[in-house]
Every structure is written in C-alpha cells, then in structure tokens.
C-alpha cells in the first residue's frame, strides 16, 4: 500500500500542475542557459586561441627577425641576450622558457640556461610536446602552450625556436567566465522558476475553484459558483464557470424532478398495493357475503350457522391482518423505533398479492427473534422495495426468497430472485457508497434508487452476493446504531 503511494508520488503525471509547470520552466531555463553558456565559452575559447595565436606569431616574428643573424653566426651570447630582453617585451604571453637550437638540434642558448644548457642536445622529452606542423600547440590540461618556429636564412633552415608559455591566466579567465555564467544563470533560473510558480498558481486558481465545486458535486452538494467569483475570471474561465453553473442548475432541476418522480412512483406503488389489498379483501368479502346469504336463508340450521360464522370470522380476521400491516407500514407516526420480527413478517402480507399476481412463489424465512437496533421504517421500506423489485425481475412461475437474520449484531436481509441478473453499472451503483444522492439512470426503475437512498440514510450496505442469468441475491446489511445515538433517539 505504502509502496503504491510512493510509486504514485514518483510518477510525474500525478504531480500537481502548480509544481510541474515551474519545474518545466526551470528545466527549460537550465537547458537554455547550458546551451548559451556552452556557446559563450566556445566563442571565448576560440577568441582566446585566436588571440594566443596572434600573440605567439608576433612573439615568434619579432624573435626570429632578431635571432636569425645571431643563429647564423652561432653567437651564443647574442641569442641569449635577445631571448633575455624579449622576456620584458612579451609579458602578455607569459613565456616560461625559450630555446633556440641550431640545425643539428643542439641548444644554442635558452632563456633559462640553468635548465637548458647551451651546447647540449635538446631533450626529446622536452620537444615531444611541439608539433612539427603547428606553430602553436595547446595543452589545456597543463595550462601550457607550446610555440615552435623554424629559423630560415636564405631559404635554408638554420635552427628552431621552441617556447613554452603559461596560459593559466587564459584558462583562469575562462573558468571565471564559466563561474559567472553558472551563478548568473542559476539565479536567473531560480528567479524565473519562482515567478513561474507564482504565475502558474495564479493562473490555475480557477481550475482549483472548479475542482472544489466538482468535488462538492460528487458528494451530492451541487453548488453554483458565486457570480462575484465568475466575473473576476478571465474570459475563458468566465465562460467555463458560467457553463458549469448552467449545468449545475440543470442537474439540480433534474434531481428535483427525480424526487418528484420517486414520489409519483411511491404513489404508483401505493396504487398497486391498494389494488392488491382490494383484491385480497375482495376474496374473503365474496365468501363472507355467501356466508351472510347462507345465514339469512338457513340461519336456523345449526350447522349452517356455525359454518357461516366461522367463515365470516376467518374473512374478517384476514381483513384485519391486512389492514393492521398496512397501518403498520404507512402510519403517519415515523418516529424511529427498533425493528422487530413482525415488521418484516408484515411485508410478506404486503408482497404476497404482488407475488400472487405475478404467479411467483414466495419463500419466507425470518430468523429475527428479538428487536434489532436499526430504524424499523426505512429498513422495512428498503426491504419492501427490494422484494417488489425481485418480483418484477423474476420470471413467471419462479420464486422470490426472503431470508432475514442477525449476524454479529448486524441485520442481514437477503432477497433472491430468479431474474436475468443485474447489469454491471447497476451493481456498481448499489455497492458504491453515497451513490444514492442521484438517480441510477433512465433505463432503470426508481425502485433501486429508493432502496439506495434509504440505505444511505441508515448507513446500510447493499451487497450483490450473486448476479447471474439464473438469478440475483441482493444483501442488505445494517449495523445497529451506536448506544449513545440510540439513547439520544
């Protein structure tokens, strides 16, 4: 579970927009600044190398012009003197040392004779850094430039100049520029990211408002966005909010109509019940009138009198039971009271006529021994509607089963039909908490919506235990109310 949460937090698609957009701005800024910095450094590097090439050429030009006569005479002192004096003239190049060799590769003189003695062969390791074809060879790793120029006199090479220059200051300048770019870009990026974050937060505020209202709506409270808030938005969101408000009004009206429909359905159900009851009363009434006729005609006969009175009594008892249960179900006094076994058994009388009309067999199993601390009226209504729905769903000559019991203190009622099973969306609707705030859909009857609403009212649970082509078992489970609440009630 925790791992799932972590994974979800790491998934960028789940990050809030107010974080993602500034982050994207920052990343883009970093990318842009990296490209710009790279270009600047590249240009600086080119410019420095060009400058170094020019300086090196000027140095070698000046030096070779002065050195050629001395080298052609192999004048050690003049060569040294020229090198020594040139050190002052080319300070910008930061020459570490310069060697002048003759045509045999022997050192004529060096600016640092202690390390490069005259009249000795120039060491190969020293000359290894100098490329024959290039006047300037760079070794950025060691902050060194190697300068080389052949000395020619009358079209003949008479020697070479080798020089090593310290380019640490150039590299330092490059590093300084890089550091400045880095810090500047970092600060700019942070600034822009912050501005982006605040701007995006402000820009998506209408989205948050819309999100809040949609959340509210999903919990059943569809509220309109206040007109003041709507008028403050930009044109796009003003339009969106207005349309949302129109939609909300339409939904509210639809719900109102749904409630009205439910009431009408209730009345229709009542009509069906009344019709059933009339039928139930009519049957004994026929017998009772026959008994009455028999009494009138043959009341003197003991046998006829006794039988007629028994028939009348049975008929009247049946009518009394029916009236009593109807009164119990629909009496005006709706004060909360605990559910008893009789409350559920009364339903049998109410459903029986409908089952009979549909040619269904009603199997009744009520295991409620004593009162259960759940509200009797809404539970009875919910179960009645479940039973009526089961009757409507079951095929002719099928059966509808009722089984009520108490499990772990909770009331459990299973209603089984032999219909064709519940569609998936209906099943999901019944089992989803809070779904009763809105009707199911156009295709489904209002019965299940009423069941769901009642169930939500009493914090009950509807569980579709089975749903197949051979039938459906819907279970209503209602936890008893907490003690405090019961006392308060």
């Amino acid at each position: 579970m925790n791992q799932e949460i972590v994974v979800s937090r790491l998934d960028p698609t789940t990050w809030p927009l107010s974080f993602k957009v500034p982050l994207l701005v920052a990343v883009l800024m970093f990318a842009v600044s990296a490209v710009v910095s790279n270009r600047v450094l590249s240009r600086l590097e080119d410019s420095q190398e060009q400058n170094l090439q020019q300086l090196a050429s000027a140095y070698l030009d000046g030096l070779s012009a002065s050195l050629i006569p001395s080298v052609s005479r192999a004048d050690v002192w003049e060569v040294f003197d020229t090198l020594d004096r040139s050190r002052e003239r080319y300070k910008g190049l930061n020459i570490r040392w310069t060697i002048v060799t003759n045509i045999e590769g022997k050192i004529l003189a060096a600016s640092d004779p202690a390390n490069y003695p005259s009249d000795t062969a120039a060491e190969k390791t020293t000359l290894a850094h100098f490329a024959d074809s290039k006047e300037v060879t760079l070794d950025a790793g060691n902050a060194t430039a190697f300068l080389m120029r052949p000395l020619s006199y009358q079209d003949r090479e008479i020697g070479k100049i080798y020089a090593e220059a310290d380019i640490g200051s150039l590299l330092q300048e490059r590093r300084d520029v890089f550091r400045t770019l880095l810090v500047t870009n970092l600060l700019l990026t942070l600034l822009l990211a912050t501005v982006g974050y605040l701007a995006i937060r402000r820009m998506i505020r209408p989205v948050r408002i819309m999100s809040f209202h949609l959340d509210q709506a999903s919990q059943g409270k569809i509220e309109l966005i206040p007109e003041g808030v709507v008028t403050r938005q930009s044109s796009e969101f003003r339009r969106l909010f207005s349309r949302y408000n129109i939609l909300s009004q339409a939904v509210n009206e639809r719900e109102f109509l749904s409630v009205q429909l439910a009431e009408e359905e209730k009345v229709a159900s009542l009509g069906r019940l009344a019709s059933g009851m009339a039928h139930e009363i009519n049957n004994p009434l026929g017998g009772m009138f026959n008994a009455l006729d028999a009494l009138k005609k043959h009341g003197t006969r003991e046998q006829v009198r006794v039988t007629s009175i028994r028939l009348l009594e049975h008929g009247l008892m049946g009518i009394r039971d029916l009236v009593r249960s109807t009164l119990a179900s629909y009496r005006a006094d709706q004060r909360p009271r605990d559910l008893t076994m009789a409350d559920l058994d009364d339903l049998r009388l109410l459903v029986k006529p409908e089952a009979k009309r549909m040619g269904l067999k009603l199997e009744w199993k009520n295991e409620i021994a004593e009162a259960v601390h759940v509200p009797a009226v809404p539970v009875r209504d919910a179960v009645l509607n479940l039973l009526l729905n089961a009757c409507a769903s079951s095929a002719e000559n099928g059966s509808v089963k009722f089984h009520a019991r108490v499990e772990s203190g909770a009331l459990v009622v299973d209603v089984t039909d032999q219909g064709g099973g519940l569609p998936a969306h209906v099943r999901e609707y019944l089992e989803r908490d809070g779904a009763g705030s809105v009707p199911l859909d156009k295709r489904s009857g209002l019965g299940l919506w009423i069941v769901k609403r009642l169930c939500d009212e009493i914090n009950g649970k509807l569980i579709v235990v089975k749903s197949s082509a051979s039938g459906t078992i819907i279970r209503l489970k209602v936890q008893p109310k907490p003690l405090e609440l019961r006392n308060a009630a």
Binding site: W77, F80, A109, A114, D119
Partner: protein
C-alpha cells in the same frame, strides 16, 4: 674594461683630415649626442667602448656636457660594440681620443700615446676576476676546465688576456681548456652570462664587477669570485702618438686631469666610481704587454 682616449689635434692637417672625414659622411656612424653647434672650432671626437653602467645615457650626457664646457669645444662621443672597432677608428685618425683597454694599448704601443689613466681606489690599477655561479665549489682556474666560459672581448685585458695568459702558462689555449668560449662584448654581459647559468665561468673586469656589486647587487650576488689577478694598468685614455700634442687632445687632457676638481666632473667621476684621472707612464702597461707576448707565443 673601458678604453678611452682623447686625441690632441693640434696640427691643422690632422684637424682638417678629421673634418673632411666627417664631412664625407662619417657622421653616419658617429653617434650624435646633441652638440650646440655654436663652437667655431671643429668638434672633438671622443671614442668609448660600451660602458658598463645601466644608466649609460645619463653618464654619456653628463660626460659630454662636462668635456664641452671644459674644452669650450663641441664634443662628439662615438660608441662601438667592440674594442676592435674603437681601436680601428682611433688608429685611422677618426677619433681625437678614445677610452680603450690596456691590451690594445699594449698591442699598438708604437702608434698610441696616453692622454690620462683613471685612478680607482687611489691607484691607476685594477684586477681581472675569474667568476663562477654562486655556490659552485671551485677554487681556481684549473677547476674550470671543460666549462662554457664567457669572455668580454678578444681585445680586452681583464676580459680575455689575463685568463688566456694563465692558460698559456699551462701551454693551453682557451678553446682547448674550455668546452666552449663565448664573447659577450661587455663586462656586465659576462656577469649576466654567469649569473644566468649560460656560462659556467667568466673573465671580468674587477673594477666593473665591484661597481656592479654596489649598483646591481642582485646580479653580482648570483656570482662569486674564483680568483683574482695581480694589479694591472687601468684601461687608459689614449690618442694617436702623432696627435698627442694637438690642441684638442691637450684640451681633453686638461679636462680629464682637472675633473676631480670640478663639480660636474666630480659628478661624472661619482657615476663612474673613479677618483679621477692622472698622468701615468706607459710602463704601467708593461705587465699587460708581457701577458700579450706570452699568449702570442702560444699562437692564440
């Protein structure tokens, strides 16, 4: 070593010859140090080898100003890179006088006369030093065998002849004793060559080394004296023997001899770290002549 010489051009012929020489375009190789041009008499031409001091120009300006004032003649100072060039100019009569070295004076003693000899530390004498980089464990010339050795000038007494004669005593020429010899054409350059490590040893004018040690101690501190020669005649101011009695040379002589008594002259002497100039006999340079003979005897 410096050389110098004031040529006394008393004879009109000599003077005329000199004027013609310059009039013919010799000006091109004579350094001009801005004479007033107001003097009626022909200018005095005074030759100098490269001076050792760093502020050469100031010294030359002051020397020229002093000599001009003192002789009441326009004075032109002529500098050349080598002793040989100055000596050639002097011998060819193109200079009234020149500050040359004792070695050329000994070489051309028949043609040259002394005008005056500088006095340093109370004597008209100086020494030649053999120097090596500081800290090098050497005690004499024999330890310098196989070095790259820096000489000042092949016509310098202290910067070549003294060392060559030491080797001649061992029947050796410098190119046989040393691995390589280099000529720097300046005593200061000898010190630079040794101090930098270009040369492992050098022969230098002792007077120049001592003066440098007070003016540029950081440079001489990188060197140390290996051995010191005997006292020898200080590089003199000389002229052609034929012109010794000329008016111009005599004016130069007077100006040099009286330099120590003149304020401007004293200033010039202070810059040169000299006591003054004196009349000295030519025998002062006999010891140099002897060394020359020794070296010539070996064929170097």
């Amino acid at each position: 070593m410096k050389k110098g010489g004031f040529q006394r051009s008393s004879t009109k012929r000599a003077s005329r010859r000199r004027v013609i020489a310059f009039g013919a375009g010799a000006i091109a190789f004579i350094s001009s140090f801005g004479g007033s041009g107001a003097h009626a008499e022909p200018p005095l031409i005074f030759g100098l080898t490269p001076v050792f001091l760093t502020n050469d120009l100031e010294l030359l300006t002051k020397l020229k100003a002093y000599l001009s004032r003192k002789t009441d003649r326009e004075v032109q100072l002529v500098q050349r890179r080598t002793y040989e060039e100055i000596t050639a100019l002097l011998l060819s009569g193109q200079l009234d006088g020149a500050w040359i070295c004792g070695y050329p004076f000994a070489q051309f003693r028949q043609q040259l006369s002394l005008i005056a000899v500088p006095v340093w530390r109370g004597k008209p004498l100086y020494q030649s030093y053999l120097i090596a980089p500081k800290g090098r464990p050497v005690t004499g010339i024999d330890d310098l065998k196989g070095d790259i050795h820096a000489f000042s000038d092949p016509n310098s007494n202290s910067g070549y002849l003294v060392t060559a004669s030491l080797l001649a005593e061992r029947k050796l020429r410098p190119d046989q004793f040393f691995r390589k010899v280099i000529f720097t054409y300046g005593h200061r350059n000898v010190v630079r060559a040794v101090a930098s490590g270009l040369a492992q040893s050098g022969s230098v004018d002792g007077y120049v080394w001592e003066v440098m040690s007070s003016i540029e101690p950081e440079l001489t501190a990188k060197t140390e004296i290996v051995s010191v020669s005997e006292l020898l005649g200080f590089p003199p101011i000389a002229c052609l023997k034929t012109q010794r009695l000329s008016e111009g040379v005599e004016l130069l002589h007077q100006a040099l001899i009286e330099m120590a008594q003149d304020n401007d002259g004293k200033h010039v002497l202070n810059m040169l770290r000299l006591d003054g100039f004196a009349d000295e006999p030519e025998t002062l340079f006999d010891s140099i002549a002897a060394k020359m003979m020794l070296v010539r005897g070996l064929g170097s």
